[in-house]
Structures are given as structure tokens and as C-alpha cells.
Symmetry: C2
Subunit: 225 residues, 2 copies
């Protein structure tokens, strides 16, 4: 049995509220966790800090999520993994040239992920994945693979319709993904010098990269890498 405790804080008449809001807690904790994970990384984010930002104590955090790793997984599902179903449907229904489809895909990705806080999760996984193999595997399964599948479907459509050359699809996927990943990493790195604030307009950069890839895709095989 632990030693007895003091109640010195009883002398303070205006106690902080101790509200019971079972419904709202998980969402608030997930939001706080996203903020801090993106800001400081997984390892460097302390559970108590997440709890504090969500307005609860550390004990409460572990009441809703069994561990820090499970909390992170929940953040990933909420912000990335859980949204692929909807995106798949959206692209399934797309009508128009596949080139436009690819342009639309990259633009919409930028608007819904790249320019949001969620992009920090990708940077985080690329940074710390090796130190947390289970999280890395989870992320690959929930985010990387669905993303690749989506892109593969688009590229395959282009080839099937004769709009694209029959390139090596795996190569092409990486050619599309590379500039998007780069932007996420760049945005969240501390290496952006202050004297270069105006550099690297994301939309323009992405558009240029898209045209480069499409140029390669519409020519002879192997030119897309």
C-alpha cells in the first residue's frame, strides 16, 4: 500500500474545475496530440504535455489511450488513414483525361494534407520511423500503401486508355510522390533560412513537378524516373 498523501491544496478555495466530459475528451486529446507530435516529434513529446494542452491530467490521457504509441496511431488514423476510403470513391468517379486527374490529385492532396498540420505526421514518420518500428509498420499499412494504391490506379488508368506510355508504374509512383514528400519535409524543417522566406512557392513548385512527370509519362517507357 502506498504512503498516505497530503491535502494541502484543500486550503485553496477556488479549485480548478474537475469537469466530467467523457464524450469530448478523446477528440480534444487527439487534437492536442497532433499539435505536439507535429511540433516536437514523437519521442520528444511528453504525455503530460499532451494532457495539459487538452486541459486534463496525465492520468486521464491514459484512461482513454492505453499508451503513447496507441495515441499516436489514433492520431494517424484520424488525420490520414481514415480518409482514404472517401478519396478512393472520389477518384473512382472522376471523369476527364488522366493527366487532369493526376494534376487534380496533386492539387487536392496539397489542399487537404500538404498544407495542413497532418503533413507533419509524414515528416515525423520519416524522421523517427527507424526508432519505432511498430509505428512505422502501422503507418506504412495505413497511409503509405493506400496512397500508393490510389496513385497506381490513376497511372494504370492512363496506360489502359493509351494516354500514358506503358512505363514502370513503381518508378512513376515515386516520381509523383517525391515532390509531395519533399514539400512536407521542407515545410516542417528548421533548415529554412529566414533570408529565403519567399522562396519555393509550394503550389508553383508542385505544378512544375507535375508537368515534368506528365512530360515523362507521355513519352517512351522508362523516362518517368
Amino acid at each position: 500500500m502506498p504512503t498516505p498523501r497530503f491535502f494541502a491544496d484543500k486550503i485553496c478555495p477556488v479549485r480548478a474545475k474537475r469537469e466530467r466530459r467523457k464524450e469530448a475528451r478523446p477528440g480534444e486529446l487527439l487534437a492536442a496530440a497532433l499539435d505536439l507530435f507535429v511540433e516536437k516529434g514523437f519521442a520528444a513529446t511528453r504525455a503530460e504535455e499532451v494532457a495539459a494542452r487538452a486541459g486534463v491530467s496525465k492520468g486521464t490521457l491514459f484512461l482513454y489511450f492505453p499508451s503513447k504509441e496507441e495515441l499516436f496511431k489514433a492520431v494517424v488514423v484520424e488525420n490520414l488513414g481514415g480518409r482514404f476510403a472517401e478519396w478512393n470513391d472520389e477518384f473512382e468517379a472522376f471523369e476527364g483525361t488522366t493527366a487532369d486527374m493526376l494534376r487534380y490529385c496533386m492539387r487536392v492532396w496539397w489542399e487537404r494534407v500538404g498544407m495542413t498540420k497532418a503533413s507533419g505526421l509524414t515528416k515525423l514518420m520519416m524522421s523517427e520511423g527507424t526508432n519505432f518500428p511498430e509505428l512505422a509498420e502501422f503507418y506504412r499499412k495505413e497511409v503509405v500503401r493506400p496512397g500508393h494504391t490510389l496513385l497506381r490506379r490513376i497511372l494504370q488508368r492512363g496506360i489502359d486508355r493509351g494516354e500514358f506510355a506503358p512505363v514502370d508504374i513503381d518508378h512513376a509512383i515515386y516520381a509523383v510522390v517525391a515532390p509531395m514528400v519533399f514539400l512536407m519535409l521542407w515545410k516542417h524543417s528548421a533548415m529554412v533560412c529566414v533570408d529565403a522566406e519567399t522562396s519555393l512557392d509550394p503550389e508553383k513548385y508542385l505544378a512544375t513537378q507535375a508537368e515534368t512527370v506528365l512530360y515523362g509519362l507521355t513519352r517512351q517507357p522508362g523516362a518517368a524516373a
Copy 2:
């Protein structure tokens, strides 16, 4: 005064060697530190592990480097910062078109940094820079700024000679740096799926990116971003 210690290990007659090699230690420690920092990141690398890999005890490590941060700085200088003087001279003496100069610069960078372990230091700083502001500042001063200066000199030469359009040099620098940084990050990330081993041939990717940038540089201003 601390409590007295045991000497139970005296009973073991075959003690591990306790060699005195003052000259060799720093180099061995730096090599071990580079390995581990690149492999696990700065925060996740334990000082004792670095010492063990270098074949000494933790106490010896702190005999040669006053702190983990100073050890890291020494690694950065040894592998990146201390080599810019030589590189600057090399490019000062370059003869030929500036387009070739830029191609040569990117290729030589890949051979001497990108494909070596040293590239992991860049990934590390982009990952953990925000958590260690002093290291980030040091890295910017020792690596980022010299690198940008070198690139700026090349681009300026191209403009002065009328080979390049008078583009915004800061934009152009980032257009050149982006693919190199991306390759370093990609190479050291855990997000590379096993089913895509053959994808993204670095040399080919870099060459393609170089031509894209040069295409922009030789046209009207502003097209290089």
C-alpha cells in the same frame, strides 16, 4: 566522499585490455558517433553506446568531448562543414559552361555527400532541429549557409556571363537544393517500401531534376521556382 566500491571483478584474470591511445580516440569516437547519430538520430543515441562502439567507456567519451552536443558539432565539422573551403577552391577554378558547372556540382555532391553516411546528418538536422535550437543554428552556420553561398556563386556566374536569365537567385537556389535534400531524406527514411526496391534511381532522378532546373534558368525570369 562517495561510498567505497567492490573489486569483485579482480577474480577474473583475463581482463579486457585497458589501452592508452590518446591520439586515436577522438577519431574513433567521431566515427562511432557518425554511425549512431545517422542510424538513430541525435536524441535517441546514447552516449554510452557511442563509447562502446568506439571501444571505450562512457567516461572516456566525456574526457574528449565536453557534452553530447559538442560531440555532434565535431561530427558535423568533420564530415560536412570543414570541407567547404576545398570545394570552394575547386569551383573557383572551374572552366566551362555554367550549365556544366551546375551539373558537375550536383553530381559531385551526390558522390561525396549524398551517397555517403554524411547525408544522414542533414536528415537528422531537418528532423530534430526544432528540438535542439543551438545545434540547428550551428548547422545552418557551418553547412547550410556555405552551401547556399557556393550555389549562389555558380548561379551568379551564369547570369553574369549571359548564360542564365536574370532569375531570382534565392528561388533558383531552392530549386537546385530541393531534389538533393529530398534524396537524402528519402534514403534514410523507413518509409521506403520493400516492394519498391528498384524505384527512384538517385543518379537518374538527380540528372532529370538538373535538366528541369536548367531549362527554367535559360528561359524568362521567374520560371525556375
